[in-house]
Every structure is written in C-alpha cells, then in structure tokens.
C-alpha cells in the first residue's frame, strides 16, 4: 500500500496537474482513479490520461490492495473494481475523486466496456489520472474512451501492448496492466501477446501491477518518453511527394500525434524525405515504431526509428541514436546494398549499408535510391568530401553524387541512386577523398538518424528528377542531386552541372554526424546546415573536430572553401555551405570513401580547376540566395529568433567575405595541391 500510495502520488503529481495529484495522494485507491480516467472525465484530462498507463498498473495495485477483490478478472473484475474504488478512495483518504469515480465508474462500465475493453477490465481504478471526479460525467468517459480507444486500438494492432494502451501509453506498465486487462476484458486480444505476466493469475499481476505502476507513474510524471523511450520518432525513406496528410493518417492509428515536422531543403522547400514525428505518449511512439516500420508510402517502404536526444538536437543527427537507429540503419543499409549493389558499404558507422554512394543517385530524384537511407548514414561523413567532388562531376558518379557535392554526402548517395551509383562509384568511384569522408554524414538525414535513411535522396533523386535546384540548397542532403544531378542542377537554373551539386542535400545530411566519419568530414557539414534543422550547426562542430582526424584533405579542402575560417557555427555555416557548394561543383562527389579520398583529391583538384570558373560566377549569384536561405534555415533549426535585420546583415557581409575567402581558399589549395 504504501508503495502503491507513493507511486500513485507521484503519478498523480506528475501527470495531472493539481487535481489529479491530489487524488493520488489522498487515495491509495488507484482503481478509483483509474476508473475516473477511464470514464473519460473532462476533456482536459484526456491528454493527461493518455500518458498515464496507470490504468494497468493501478489495477494491479488495486487488486493487491483489495484482497477481497476477487480475481477481478472478467466481469468480476469490474465489480471488484468498483468495490475497490470506493475502498480506495477511503484509503486514499484524500481523493474525493476516487470515490466518485468509483461510483461513476460502475455506472459507466457498461459504457466503457463497450468502448474499451480495457476499461472494463479495470474499472476506472487503474486510472490514476482520474483526477477530479469528473468521471461520473458520461461525457468524460467518452472522451477518455475515445482517447483510449485510439490508443488501444492502435496498440492492439500495433503491438502486443494493447493491454497497456488503455492505461496510458506507458509501455512499461503494459505487462502488468495487460494481465489485468485481459482478465477483465476478454476482448482484449492484446493481453495475450503483450504481457508475459498475463499468464499470472491475479496475484502475480497484482504484484506486477505494483511494480508496474511505479514505472508508469514515473513516466507519467515526466511525461517524457522515459520508459519506452522518447515520444519522438523519425520517419524516413519517404518520397518527396509523400504528404504530411498521408503520413498523419497512418500515424494517427498508433496514437495521438502531437506534431509532424518535415525536413525540407531550404532552398526549394522540397521534402527531404524524412520527418520527425512526435506523439503525445511514448507508448504510441513505440507502437508506431514497431508497427509502421516498413510501411509503404506511395510504394516505398519507410523507416521508423526513435529520435535520440542528440538527433533531436541536431535535427539531422538521426544517426546519433545508434541504439535505435542502428537496427534501422542496418536494415537500411541492407536495403541500400541491395538496391545499389553497393558493396561498398563503407561501413560507416551506422550499419550503413554501404555507403552506397549512391551519390550519383542522389540526384534529386533519387527515388530509386531508396537505399540511400542506409548509405546515407555512413556516408555522411564522407559526404563532406565526397560531396564536393560530386558536385562537380558527379555526372560520372551517377549524378547522384553530384548532389552531394556537399561533401559529406558521400556515402549516402550510394543508396539513393537506386543503384545508380555504380558500386565503384560508391566508394570512390571518383569521389574525391574529401567527399568520401563526408559522405557518410550525408546520409541525407541528418536528423532522422536512420542510418540508412537517406530518405531524401533515394526517393527523390530518382535520377532524373531534376526538380529542385539542388544548387540552391546547400543543405541538401545528398538528396537533391539526382543522379543526374548534374543535369538537374541545370534545372535550377544554375549554369553548369555543378550547380546541382550543391544542393546536394548531402551536405546537409551530414548534419547527422552520426557516423564518426561524418563528423570529421563535416567540414563541409556546414552545408547541411541548410538542412534546416540545425544540423548544420552540429555538423560543423563535429566536422571540425573530426576533420582533423580525417585527413589533411579535409583540411585542405577547408581551406579552399575558406570554410576553415568560417567554421563558426552560425555564421560560418553559411559560408561553408557556400564554399561547399563551390566544391561540389568542382569535385565529383563520387567518392565517398575515405580511401578513395586520396586519389580522389587529385581528381578533385582537376575538377576544381575546371569548374572553378563556372562556379565562381555561379556562386556569386547563388551565394546571396543561399545566404538568405541559410539564415532561414538556421532560424528554423535553431529556433532562434534572429532578427531579420541581423540575419540579413550578416549574410551580406559574409557573402562578400565569403567570396573572397572562397576564392582565396581555392587558390591556395591549388598551389598546395
């Protein structure tokens, strides 16, 4: 009891604001509370309740608390609950609500039962959330019910959890809760699957319940993913035309969606093919991750992974969440490999299936690339270097690479090109070493952490997708550069193929830095900054540090682009991007591989010469645009509210200096090379 009481209290506090807390604290009778919740008390509590899995746990507690409670399984459970509720309330001593709920619950049960199988099981009791005795109101019930239903249903389908959903999304509790539920609600199919404990008769469940409750409570309190991890997911490997409405309709099956944020190329607004999804409760998120992974959106299987804190921060650093994304990445990687035939799997960290440098494929139309995702991850690092190369010549690479110009894009490309990237290309088919390094990063998703996700590229770049002007978007994570990226680039109006390169999302992709590579190479990472969500920044940092390790190429590259000076995160990012872009034009991002880098570099240099002039002119024009864009990106990613004036002013200055630097850098490089 004490334990339970404590738990409840905690739970209450966390979860529901004041009202609920009170109840908790006062009433040891969890069941009562649970009932309330279930009943669907006020709308305002709906959300609260969602978070709380208490239901399950509470039930357990209740049961344990109320010995008399008969098995409670099945119908009796209901009754029991009711009884319990009142009892609890008394126990709780404080929660008035409990009492009420109990009562109301009973009445409600019939209704509830219809709705939520679970609820029946646990008569409101489990819902600590109950909070004020609003339960009595039928309306609330319905509300809750609806919420619950959604979750439940979703859960049921999605996971074995089912049992849990009713309570609240807390997954942890599920096991315990489930048993309860199952017992009570024959309807609950979930129970069977989800919880081991279920098998245990009441007693055990109770025990578990207690334990379970605890976690739930904690979770609820924090309202953070806690148990099951964050409520944030990354969904990648989407087509650029896959809309938010489509995504939402599928996501809502798993629970209430709080927000869907797409990663887009700054310059054009085109979707990078991945997005960040936030659910209200972790259970939904977990369910979604399990259930929606691989779901076909417009004929393309998506990838769902958790968003790690880092990635969340970086927005693109999807890779960071190695634990979670790793599996995905690997999957992706595999896919990529298949698709691209990349043998290269450069092994960039995330199981990237191979860097697929698909770069060439990246091209905006990367649709075929699909794999990119996999490749993307690892490639990011490379991307940086490779990207550059890509930009220029990617044509050879498969164009996809071109897009990468950004550098980091490197590996990532491999994937997308849908095989465009000829395996050799992957690795280095001509990628400049520098790019290779970066490439890894680009994975295109900086954020989504899908190692293999290179979402943007593969799909989008469907080779030949000239669509978006890659050049404009520095951040393009290898995406844009459709294999023909080079050609595509033209679409943007840029002169010269390299134009396209820049936009290579690749650069942006690096943001991820997931892979070690990436970070290092991310000297170019700056580009990704464009990828709007802040990864750019991240990349920079990473890139810088890692760069050193990477090799001198990078360093030298940096010089070229004059990035080195600019490395500053905020401002510099822009510059880097710009420089990156220039690079890309020059070099064929193709090579993403590190190894390749060395010899690539020389190639790069050659290319640079060739393209330099083109780029310069091109650059100048673009730079300005980009600058602006970058600013926006930053704002976006950083959610900073830089004043317009400020941002404007900066770019102007930077622009000028940048051009100078860039030129300078280039010149310097040549001689050194």
């Amino acid at each position: 009891m004490d334990a339970m009481a404590e738990e409840q209290i905690e739970f209450g506090d966390e979860e529901y604001g004041g009202a609920q807390k009170m109840q908790y604290q006062g009433s040891g009778a969890i069941p009562a509370l649970a009932d309330e919740e279930m009943m669907g008390e006020d709308d305002e509590y709906e959300d609260l309740y969602n978070d709380v899995n208490v239901g399950e746990g509470l039930l357990q507690l209740q049961r344990s608390e109320a010995p008399p409670q008969p098995v409670g399984v099945g119908n009796t459970g209901l009754h029991v609950q009711k009884n319990e509720a009142p009892e609890r309330t008394s126990e709780a001593g404080g929660s008035q609500g409990l009492n009420i709920p109990g009562v109301s619950v009973q009445g409600k049960y019939p209704n509830v039962g219809a709705r939520y199988p679970q609820q029946e099981g646990h008569p409101a009791v489990n819902r600590p959330e109950m909070g004020s005795g609003t339960y009595p109101s039928g309306s609330t019930l319905s509300q809750k019910g609806s919420v619950m239903e959604a979750t439940h249903d979703a859960q049921v389908k999605v996971m074995g959890f089912q049992g849990i959903p009713s309570a609240s999304h807390k997954v942890g509790i599920d096991p315990s809760g489930v048993p309860q539920k199952i017992v009570n609600n024959p309807a609950q199919s979930l129970n069977s699957g989800a919880n081991g404990p279920q098998g245990a008769p009441q007693a055990p469940p109770n025990q578990m319940g207690i334990i379970v409750n605890h976690p739930t409570m904690n979770e609820n309190q924090v309202r953070q993913p806690i148990e099951n991890g964050p409520t944030m997911l990354f969904v990648g490997e989407l087509h650029w035309w896959t809309t938010d409405a489509e995504l939402e309709s599928v996501l809502s099956q798993y629970g209430r969606v709080k927000e869907i944020k797409f990663f887009e190329e700054r310059a054009s607004g085109k979707s990078k093919g991945y997005c960040q999804v936030e659910f209200f409760d972790p259970a939904s998120a977990a369910a979604c991750k399990e259930g929606m992974n691989g779901y076909m959106f417009n004929g393309r299987a998506c990838v769902v992974t958790f968003a790690s804190p880092q990635t969340l921060k970086q927005m693109g650093a999807a890779y960071m969440d190695k634990n979670q994304s790793q599996p995905q990445a690997q999957t992706q990687g595999r896919r990529a490999n298949d698709g691209l035939g990349r043998g290269g799997n450069m092994n960039y960290q995330s199981g990237e299936a191979g860097r697929n440098f698909g770069r060439g494929n990246w091209g905006r139309g990367g649709q075929g690339g699909a794999n990119r995702g996999g490749g993307g991850g690892p490639i990011r690092g490379r991307g940086a270097v490779g990207v550059k190369n890509m930009a220029g010549s990617s044509a050879g690479i498969g164009n996809g690479a071109g897009a990468y110009g950004q550098g980091p894009v490197g590996p990532a490309f491999g994937g997308p090109a849908g095989g465009m990237m000829h395996p050799p290309g992957m690795m280095g088919a001509g990628f400049d070493p520098p790019f290779m390094g970066r490439g890894g990063g680009y994975g295109g998703f900086p954020g989504p952490g899908f190692p293999g996700m290179l979402p943007s590229f593969p799909a989008v770049n469907a080779m030949g997708l000239a669509g978006v002007a890659p050049h404009v978007n520095p951040a393009f994570f290898g995406r844009g550069m459709a294999p023909n990226g080079m050609g595509m680039m033209g679409s943007t109006g840029m002169d010269g193929p390299h134009a396209g390169m820049w936009t290579d999302p690749n650069m942006g992709g690096w943001g991820g830095d997931e892979h070690g590579h990436r970070t290092r190479e991310s000297s170019y990472g700056g580009e990704d900054g464009a990828s709007e969500y802040g990864y750019g920044d991240v990349n920079h940092e990473k890139g810088r540090s890692s760069v050193a390790s990477r090799e001198k190429e990078r360093v030298s590259e940096r010089e070229w682009s004059g990035n080195s000076d600019r490395r500053h995160r905020d401002e510099e990012r822009e510059k880097e991007r710009v420089s990156e872009r220039e690079w890309s034009g020059n070099s064929d991002r193709r090579h993403r591989d590190e190894k390749e880098r060395d010899w690539d570099r020389s190639e790069r240099e050659h290319r640079e010469h060739r393209y330099r002039e083109e780029k310069d002119s091109y650059r100048e024009n673009r730079r300005r645009e980009r600058d602006m864009e970058y600013d926006d990106d930053w704002q976006r990613g950083q959610s900073s509210s830089r004043s317009r004036g400020r941002s404007h002013a900066v770019p102007e200055e930077e622009r000028r200096s940048r051009s100078r630097d860039v030129d300078y850098g280039k010149k310097r490089r040549l001689p050194s090379e």
Binding site: F262, D632, R636, G645, H648
Partner: protein
Amino acid sequence: MVTSPVVNTYPLSSYTFGTKEPKMEKDTSVADRLARMKVNYMKEGMRTSVEAILLVQEHNHPHILLLQIGNTFCKLPGGRLKPGENEIEGLKRKLTSKLGANSPALVPDWQIGECVAIWWRPNFETIMYPYCPPHITKPKECKKLFLVHLSEKEYFAVPKNLKLLAVPLFELYDNVQSVGSVRLVTPNSFDTNSVPFSTLIRRETTFFSGI
C-alpha cells in the same frame, strides 16, 4: 481592381510624404511572430496575407516602395487579412493603415492591380516559397502580392517608426538579403511571356516581366 498589365510610374518627386503616429509591430521577435502565427492558425486556419507593390520611377529605373523597420528589415506594405475578407478590400485597408493619412479625405484611392506573385509558407518558419511544396497539404500562410497603380500625385503618411524607401529593382534582384525577406515576385509573374528576372521599363509605363 485595375486589370491592365501596364503600370504607369511617376517620379518620386511627384509624391508627397508626410508622417503619422507610429505603427508598432505586433511581435517583438521572429519567434514571437511565429508563435502568434501558430495560435492564429489553430483558430482560423491558413493565414492569407496581401502585400502591395508600389512603383515609382527614378533615374529611368523602377523603384519599389518599401517600409523599413529599424535599420535592416524591409517589407512591402500589406498584412494579414481578416478571416473571409476580400483580398482587394483587405489590401486597401492595409495600405490605408500603413500609408494612408489619418484624415479620410487625404487617403489615396488605391487602385489595386493584378496579382503578380503568390508565396507560400509551408511551416511555422520564416521561409516562404513561390509555390506550395508537394509534400505539404496544409500550408500555414499564403501571401499574395499585388501591383498597385499609383496616380501622378499622391500623399502618403508614413508612421514615425518606419521609413519609406524607394528601392531600385536591381537591388532586389537576386539579393534577398539587402532588403530582408522581401520576396516580390515569382519568376513568371506579370507577363506570361516574360523571362524571369527581366524587366522592361519605360519612363512612364512600366511593363514588368518578372522582378
């Protein structure tokens, strides 16, 4: 609404400029603005805003009148429409609010011309595009730019906290930074045969083919 594609422009000197009470921005920062936008979106759905392109002729080159806030940020006169409000009427309302004198008798009779550009805001961010990206089904804002035909003589009252600038077209071309986020037109605005970014200007008539 004036439908002629030809805009007559007159020298800046033919216009009179006065001042009036300050018109402060509703938001103090970009973040505030976006937050307010979000709130409004929840209540009213997609925001529709309108902006006006007022042209004057100087040095044989068209100039656009922009309002400068502080020293850096420039914007076109215009603003958000009320839910259900007609675009033309709303733009007139905004122009009067920003540049019209306080006395109704002195307010210009705004001749709103054709819409030359439409910009979309896909997310609650500062960035806008001249199209709605394909993956966005619910843009957050739609901004329409209209040409305004000014007569030879007009009186404008500029709020004290703002500056009215006549910015030459070349400054705006591919140079978003200098005037902030002023996005004037889409490449294929004005004249269907026009080439993006090409402008044909004559002394008293302005035939825009994209800005």
